[in-house]
Subunit: 148 residues, 2 copies
């Protein structure tokens, strides 16, 4: 018990996490509260280091906090089948694929809008035009409504 004894700053450095983020994870019960020193400093063990590394890796892979919480809960039940783990990862993958598709559609649209820029004045700007509703009525602009 209580091996290593890392300060919060040490743990932060070891896991490339900000000190505030570690305290935040503790507040939301993602990382268990460590013991304290006489001076009320947090004192972390190797177990904390492992758990925080897991959290960071999962977060880097885009898992949400709640997904990470579920994964951590599952990883503690070593002899249960890992279907639930698989399901979480699969769901996340599906979400990532969906985002990629959406962004690619977006990129195509932005590409096409940008390709039309003739570098004239704002009045002729195809980018503004593309963003505007049903054919900008001649006379100008987006029709800034003045609060008269």
């Amino acid at each position: 018990m209580a091996c290593e004894n890392l300060s919060i700053g040490d743990l932060a450095k070891a896991t490339s996490t900000k000190v505030e983020t570690i305290r935040y994870y503790e507040r939301i019960s993602l990382l268990p509260a460590p013991e304290r020193t006489a001076g009320n400093y947090r004192s972390y063990s190797a177990a904390h280091l492992g758990r925080l590394s897991f959290i960071r890796r999962a977060r880097d892979l885009g898992f949400s906090i709640e997904q990470v919480r579920d994964l951590l809960g599952l990883s503690d039940q070593r002899d249960r089948p890992c279907e639930a783990v698989d399901a979480i990862a699969r769901e996340h993958l599906a979400e990532v694929k969906r985002k990629i598709r959406d962004l690619q559609a977006l990129r195509r649209e932005l590409d096409s809008i940008l390709s039309q820029c003739s570098r004239g004045t704002v009045a002729e700007c195809q980018i503004i035009e593309a963003l505007s509703p049903t054919a900008t009525p001649r006379g100008g602009g987006i029709r800034t409504p003045e609060t008269e």
Copy 2:
């Protein structure tokens, strides 16, 4: 002036925006405050409709609120060159491309992690393994630190 006279609900329907969102845009000065009726209801003109449509379209294309603000400001200066408009769109496109790259890397990683799932117990789960730090020490789990 004050043509059309749409209620906030009408404007919401016309632009597929929630009423609360319209009020929010007014609060952050993205959409100018409209005139009020005798009963203190907001009364919108066609100009408001145009501007809100522009905002929605830009937001759908993933421009941030601040970018939309800039685009609106620029679109009012009809006789200035449209380089600044072009720059905003280009920057946004670069950002979108970056996100796509990141997500594709992520997808590859998730794909590879998932392909290793042998559907055994959590103890043998390659997904958990892949998320864990430097070779999980035999004995188990992510080493949940108990607050003893």
